[in-house]
Symmetry: C2
Subunit: 228 residues, 2 copies
């Protein structure tokens, strides 16, 4: 039974993302250097981010608010706050850099099935990044979601009128992309990146018939061909 719908994560699956958050976190530690040791600053912001996740959700604006909150907690002054607003604005405005070979891979995939972008994060920011990527026209749809749970994927498959066993999800997060898509009955390709946010880490499924770990997204078309 051939695959009819290919769902793709965006950040760090199609384009670089974590490296910009990492750079922002380094800038944050620099700004806070007069007030706190870099190790402590990083530890504190990681805790504040997790604490804020339920209220603020994902994305650059949420991260900016968490940076400011952490700075206040660590006794920073208002000049530091002003600089963190700039760090946050740079994070929102960073260029979109595709991962190697993504354009070709997406064209191959789009020739075999409908493509849908499935991504968390800030709605406006993700729309701006997709537009800047020049890849928008290859996608049949864009689903920006506040969280990726099995129901999220079930709803998307139903929206595109496809049975789960004819859908694939590919992404770099075991916790957000792979496990919920498998739970919803779809196939799932894990394409890990170098940098993994601790919050997104999870154990890989063992011997799952619909799961595959790939070295790069460029290997996805060949795997999908074996499913069909």
């Amino acid at each position: 039974m051939p695959i009819d719908l290919i769902c793709l994560d965006a950040d760090d699956t199609l384009w670089h993302n974590m490296r910009y958050f990492d750079a922002a976190e380094r800038a944050f530690a620099d700004v806070l250097a007069p007030f706190a040791d870099a190790g402590i600053a990083r530890e504190r912001i990681a805790a504040v981010e997790i604490r804020n996740l339920a209220h603020y959700g994902y994305g650059a604006k949420s991260f900016t608010l968490s940076m400011i909150e952490t700075a206040v907690e660590l006794g920073a002054d208002v000049t530091a706050v002003a600089r963190l607003l700039d760090v946050g604005r740079d994070l929102l405005a960073h260029p979109v850099e595709l991962l190697d070979g993504i354009g070709d891979t997406l064209e191959r995939l789009a020739a075999t099935a409908r493509l849908v972008l499935v991504t968390k994060g800030d709605l406006l920011h993700q729309e701006v990044k997709l537009a800047a990527s020049g890849l928008g026209s290859l996608f049949s749809g864009v689903e920006i979601v506040s969280d990726k749970r099995p129901e999220t994927f079930t709803r998307i498959f139903s929206r595109y009128a496809v049975a789960p066993e004819r859908a694939v999800m590919a992404g770099d997060s075991m916790r957000s992309d792979i496990l919920p898509a498998l739970a919803a009955g779809a196939w799932a390709a894990f394409v890990p990146t170098d940098i993994v946010w601790a919050h997104e880490a999870a154990a890989a499924p063992t011997r799952h018939p619909r799961f595959r770990k790939l070295a790069r997204l460029g290997d996805l078309p060949d795997w999908i061909a074996t499913i069909g």
Copy 2:
């Protein structure tokens, strides 16, 4: 030709919203009182909000970042910044208060056509509000969009497989709800509220055959019956 799809704005159409932003703006002026006259503080934040709209988009997190930015510009101290973070968190956590009679109105509407929520603002926050409203099950879909342009409505009508002339949009913003829906070929019901954000104001269409101004959303079912 009967109406098959009823699109509804959320903030200040189904539930109160501007009153919470107004309260946040008053709290903002109070926090800044030691640093700036209330009139000046309000003038400056209005300007900062407009300036940030293209980067931050709509919603409580964007407003919080604009409050902090304005505070920094007005020479506030870090204690003020901490209090503004709290004001922003209260804004995200405010209770969902439905406008009068909304539950009954939506049940009448849902009995005649599919309902779709079409709203700007922060994805997570709007999802939380819909869940808290208890109205979620009446809706066939929720479309959270970064802006409302004619193409936005065209895309939504196509997604729900309905011709524009069989769709109605109802909302409290002439600029965001009414004019783009009419431009997309749909019917549009303007249900104004007491408080209008200056950015959303626009002139009403004159003698447009598909436009109606209503005193309350409760008048929508009767108007839709005359279209059918």
